[in-house]
């Protein structure tokens, strides 16, 4: 089965600072990778997805960006954080012949 690693688990950053969240996947090759954001008590908002190295699709225009430098590595970045970027960021992987997604433990980001 797949294992999704995310770090850090929690992060407090000031407004205007940069951001880099990393996600790595074990147990599958060439997965589809996803970044979601979840506001407190709310649903999952898809931010980016990738079907391969260097292939990124953006769902919501914003000051965030994503990159996939390696097959099983997915990075979420921002040059300047906004207060509205606070939330719970989840990386997910869908691989092989499976349709279901496996989620990482998430990063709780608070922008102050």
């Amino acid at each position: 089965s797949q294992t999704i690693h995310q770090w850090p688990a929690t992060l407090v950053q000031p407004v205007g600072s940069p951001l880099s969240l990393e996600c790595t996947v074990e147990g599958t090759s060439n997965p589809n990778l996803y970044w979601y954001r979840q506001a407190a008590g709310r649903g999952l908002q898809l931010l980016f997805y990738s079907v391969g190295i260097g292939q990124i699709s953006s769902e919501v225009p914003q000051n965030l960006s994503a990159s996939r430098p390696q097959d099983r590595q997915f990075i979420l970045s921002s040059k300047k954080l906004l207060l509205s970027d606070s939330g719970f960021y989840l990386c997910a992987s869908q691989g092989g012949s499976k349709y279901e997604q496996y989620f990482g433990p998430g990063t709780r980001l608070t922008v102050t």
Binding site: N32, Y34, G41, R42, G43, L44, L46, Y49, V51, L90, Q94, G96, S97, K98, Y99, E100, Q101, Y102, F103, G104, P105, G106
Partner: protein
Amino acid sequence: GQQVMQIPQYQHVQEGEDFTTYCNSSTTLSNIQWYKQRPGGHPVFLIQLVKSGEVKKQKRLTFQFGEAKKNSSLHITATQTTDVGTYFCAGFRGGGRGSTLGRLYFGRGTQLTVWP
């Protein structure tokens, strides 16, 4: 665009009562998946339904997929405190027959609270 609506948003029940959450899509889905997120945790895959009218059971949980493949429900019989969490449905729309390429459209979730 693709939307998956889920109701209710919140449900508070006493332990032993039943619970149901409903999911409805504006378009036909390739399959529907259900996830559970415990408080403070991340979503965990529960089950996938693929066929029209399909019904699957996991112990006290019963999942149904509608005949038109546009709606689904999750029913929990005799809830327990361990059932607490948010239940999400997610509709999958893929790139073609048998293709796993595609994306999931998540409902907003139903937050279940169970008091003893």
